[in-house]
Symmetry: C2
Subunit: 468 residues, 2 copies
């Protein structure tokens, strides 16, 4: 069959057939509606029963479509999928997303049907995504085959690749309901054909994608080496973040009953990732917040972290976290040290962390200027634990947003990656967020996460130095 | 001097002298205002300059107060504190909170003044809290010497003991702005006299306090053994959660410059805590959310965790976390297994985790009933990653709150500790929160935290079995 078809038609089809199109508000309803209402992608609805679906005539077979079709989205019951795929192949469709479940994840009968799918696809040069997935989201054209709200999608630089539909959908919901932009989301389901190797290769070339996030339950036998090579090539161009489950016995059992995946040795996987320059993260929060930082922050320049804080306790805990991750505090230059002593109140600690305590509002701006200019400072963390009474109308009622905006501006102009921890009164933390928002500086609520996100920037910097 | 004075007057004074009372909106303003406006605690303002403060006549010396005084709150400059303490002793005041900073944390001069304070206090049977702190919050009488908004305080079962004022204030702000209740908060500052030993002893007897949380930078030389004994006695009665910084070299340096504390060997500290039955937590989120769970959930009964999920991926990750923490999944009884197969859709996985996928709304309630009744189930975790379109008015627009409320009711009646993870669309997660709120079942947004909070309940259960 020659060169396998590029994945591009999964994300940018000119025409799509929805096979099993339905207006019943259950499985298949949302993809049908989302695809049908896309303003520029030509859609055809197919349903063996014919009639009308959402007011549009449904054809009885994909073969009745009078024009060429780039992509088929299959949402028929599992027992009908093989025949549908055969029709698609005959129609000359080379990209098929099978959303239907009921294949290898359910036992031997399902596994047999899945093998038939694969053989048919291979024989006809058809690329199949799924089964047991919700396909794709592409925010550059707002095309999606998934159960998401198209109007809420936000364009951005984060790509996410997962297996099951519900988790993929939840990631989209998580990001978009928090104002965080995505480039592409792919749910691979049982990965009968298209797998992480194909998708990471595609995303490495995708200009919209600035960071690739993967959730993996297991690697298909025989694909491990290829996956690691792909990670390595992709990592030289953009960060690849990997969250993998099945690392314990209980987790491995859960993974097997979920997508039939074999988790494999966790040590081997970790070592291979490291060698490939991919960054392994420990949990979902770390995956998503680190991805956010990669899309908005530059990589650290030479030098350690400068910490500005108004709480010595929080700074001490942060130092523990950074030390555990092998991240060093910056040693300020003589010049910075002496200027810090002028800028900070006499009782403030001007070593690193710089602890300005209650004088934070008066002294933070000149201090951030100094930290940003110090050649020994490679990155910055700001900790704000500002008492609620400062903003509380019953006490001082100050609007702190302009203050944080000013700091965001200075930090942003320094071109040093900056991560902010907001702790305490939720209203004050929202002012911190609001202030740093326009500069795309991440504001986190967890100290552990703050340290881990910054550490990932350093980790990727050393990957870039090694792979380039 | 006989028996040292009980700490009770720090929390429940009938009369208080504010020494250094001020109406200037800086250091000392908020404590002055909060104490002055307390409806039932009699307050006296003292200021060497005399005159009026906030419309109230200020006396020039504490010795001019015509009646007995239970507690003095000192907010004068550090160089004046020793004389003020002498006046307090002469006046017969046996409890003094020194909020002023500028003592051992600043160097040798400060340390000398701090030693003078201690000698004077010891010689006169005066208990001193601080210096370099903001004293106490007591929600049972709404008395506070700290920089917090009295009107926002929420009464509850969590006690927090920390060192510096800003961190203590932030903890109060954090909890109260999230609707989480506190019993007492104590900031010990430099711990020149009153330290964790005294406070934990007091809180162990305090009926309002259901769980004791501590943030510790270092233990004073010679107090380690006593502290561990105190933890042991307290742990037999209520959970003691400990967050300690200075566990790494960088952290230890930060701690020393913050409160002059010596962090000490982290391994020794951890081993001692374990032996005492105190629970060491890794970060602030874990401290606070675990404390919440202890105030609202019963301890696990015999048996492992039952997991109900609508996302197999999230369940697999949770299994990894639980396994790493040594927490076992429950093995359902035969009866439960067969009834689960009736209650769940045919394709759902009825092993543990029970994965009902998209059928969560229809099948969760009978399943939670079954899990709650299974004698092999000691606790429950529910994972909800419900697609935003379900609640989105542009799609299905369902109000899920009653559904979650129903589940909360069933879980609550089972008398098994339950922790809920909400993931995905923030609006849906807020419905999850709203639904479980009236049953005081914690709803978390972090999977790692969900596992760790549940693990702490099991850990304390084994402490209780051992110490009782």
């Amino acid at each position: 069959m020659g060169e396998p078809a590029s994945l591009d038609a999964f994300f940018n089809p000119r025409s799509v057939a929805v096979i099993g199109a339905t207006e019943n508000p259950g499985f298949g309803y949302v993809p049908t509606r989302n695809i049908l209402s896309h303003p520029s992608v030509k859609s055809y609805l197919v349903n063996v029963k014919g009639g009308k679906v959402m007011g549009v005539k449904a054809l009885r077979s994909v073969k009745d479509i009078p024009e060429p079709v780039d992509l088929a989205v299959v949402i028929v019951p599992s027992r009908a999928v093989v025949d549908v795929l055969r029709d698609c192949a005959e129609k000359g469709i080379r990209h098929v997303i099978v959303e239907s479940a009921g294949f290898s994840e359910t036992g031997e009968d399902g596994a047999r049907m899945e093998r038939e799918l694969v053989e048919l696809a291979k024989a006809n040069g058809v690329r199949v995504m799924g089964p047991n997935c919700v396909g794709v989201v592409n925010t550059s054209n707002m095309f999606t085959t998934a159960d998401v709200d198209v109007a809420s999608l936000i364009r951005g630089g984060i790509a996410f690749v997962g297996q099951s539909g519900i988790f993929g959908t939840s990631i989209v919901d998580w990001a978009c309901s928090r104002g965080i932009g995505l480039s592409k989301v792919v749910t691979l389901g049982n990965k009968c054909d298209v797998d992480e190797v194909d998708v990471v290769e595609y995303l490495a070339d995708d200009e919209e994608t600035k960071v690739i996030c993967l959730y993996i339950e297991g690697v298909k036998p025989g694909r491990g080496r290829k996956l690691i090579e792909t990670f390595k090539r992709a990592s030289a161009r953009k960060p690849v973040l990997v969250l993998k489950s099945g690392r314990t016995e209980t987790g491995a059992r859960a993974v097997m009953s979920h997508t039939g995946s074999i988790a494999g040795s966790d040590e081997v996987f970790s070592a291979a990732l490291k060698q490939a320059g991919a960054i392994r993260v420990e949990n979902i929060d770390e995956l998503l917040y680190t991805a956010m930082a990669f899309t908005s922050q530059p990589l650290p320049s030479e030098g350690g972290v400068a910490v500005l804080t108004n709480s010595g306790s929080l700074a001490a805990m942060l130092c523990d976290e950074l030390d555990s991750l092998g991240i060093k505090l910056a040693s300020f230059t003589r010049e910075t040290r002496s200027k810090l002593e002028e800028a900070a109140p006499s009782w403030a600690s001007c070593r690193n962390p710089v602890d300005v305590g209650p004088a934070v509002i008066e002294s933070a701006a000149p201090i951030v200027e100094l930290l940003g200019r110090d050649p020994n400072v490679g990155s910055m963390i700001f900790i704000f634990a500002i008492p609620g009474i400062v903003a509380n109308p019953r006490y001082f009622g100050a609007d702190l947003t302009p203050f944080f905006k000013h700091l965001g501006d200075i930090a942003s102009r320094s071109r040093k990656p900056t991560v902010v921890l907001g702790f305490g009164d939720e209203k004050v933390v929202q002012m911190v967020e609001e202030g740093f928002k326009q500069f795309n500086i991440p504001v986190l609520r967890s100290l552990t996460l703050t340290a881990r996100v910054l550490a990932a920037l350093y980790q990727y910097k050393s990957v870039v130095n090694r792979l380039k």
